[in-house]
Symmetry: C2
Subunit: 186 residues, 2 copies
């Protein structure tokens, strides 16, 4: 597996002050646009669903219960959960795979995604790790016009320095969708 | 002076990870677009110059020398510098006023601005204070697609929680101009 075979999209909703979750990891209203999307956001969501061949998430994003809360996701693709605490009960409608190591999880997801993208969808911890490890090819931020004042930041601790090339900006209602390509070092 | 008489715009360039200056307060390339603006950014700069009736900045933004570095600013309006260390030498081409207190400085600027806006243009410290004090009416962020990884954040410490209404998004080259109106509490 060479780096060019892997296409990883980090996709997060983020507040104006840089938080991707509230203090307890809750979504803090950052995904309101997602659950009832205005017209421009429908295009973004549909594209994301169509492009995504596998999803990587953390244990918190998976859900607090054994079965998570993922029965109604529109993504009918493998979900790789990075966790040292795999649940004992698996939900039926979405395929979940549990991996203890981020790189191993990304390899699993890449294999499952085929020619489509691996989408890293949170939470903050997995997002930071994948960014700091230089494993992100594109970054999509759904910028929500709120200042939360507390919570979990996407950019916190060592993220490395990155230059990005804007791919597009889509202004919607209550959210601005920003997509960037990360320049690879060297 | 009632609150409705004052119109305060907080205007800052910001990195994707939320920094408005590098670790030592340097601009970290965040204003490259400003000094040689691509076409869409020319409109933003021209509008800002036309709308601004007075500018409020911190001592760091004023400059390290007695005379600052402000001889070539396009703003021919009073500049209020919030500082406990007023310089002894004043530059000739731009009018500078020095105030030790933020609210006093804003009053001075509001009086000088007439029917135009008071633009708070940095540094990070003054920007945070004016935001935390609930004195900002509109926020313009010039979002630059870099991840710096260290420096001074706009949103750091107590900023309060705010909801904002998007005014517009202007996509330029190497920068996205975001303008918001802050909802007033109550």
């Amino acid at each position: 597996m060479t780096p060019t075979d892997r296409r990883v999209l980090l996709d997060m909703a983020i507040s104006l002050d840089g938080y991707v979750a509230g203090p307890g990891g809750q979504d803090a209203g950052l995904y309101d646009w997602y659950f009832d999307p205005p017209a421009p956001s429908v295009l973004i969501v549909d594209e994301l669903v169509a492009q995504t061949g596998a999803i990587v998430i953390g244990r918190g994003a998976y859900g607090s219960g054994d079965a998570g809360g993922w029965d109604d996701t529109p993504y009918r693709v493998p979900h790789v959960v990075i966790t040292h605490r795999p649940p004992t009960v698996r939900p039926g409608r979405v395929e979940f795979v549990f991996a203890t190591d981020l790189r191993q999880g990304l390899e699993l997801a890449t294999g499952a995604a085929g020619s489509r993208w691996v989408t890293v969808g949170g939470g903050a911890d997995v997002a930071r790790q994948v960014l700091a490890a230089g494993l992100v090819d594109e970054l999509q931020l759904h910028l929500v016009p709120v200042v939360i004042g507390a919570g979990l930041r996407l950019f916190d601790g060592p993220t490395g320095a990155h230059r990005l090339d804007p791919v597009r900006v889509v202004e919607s209602i209550g959210v601005t969708h920003l997509r960037y390509r990360l320049r690879q070092p060297g």
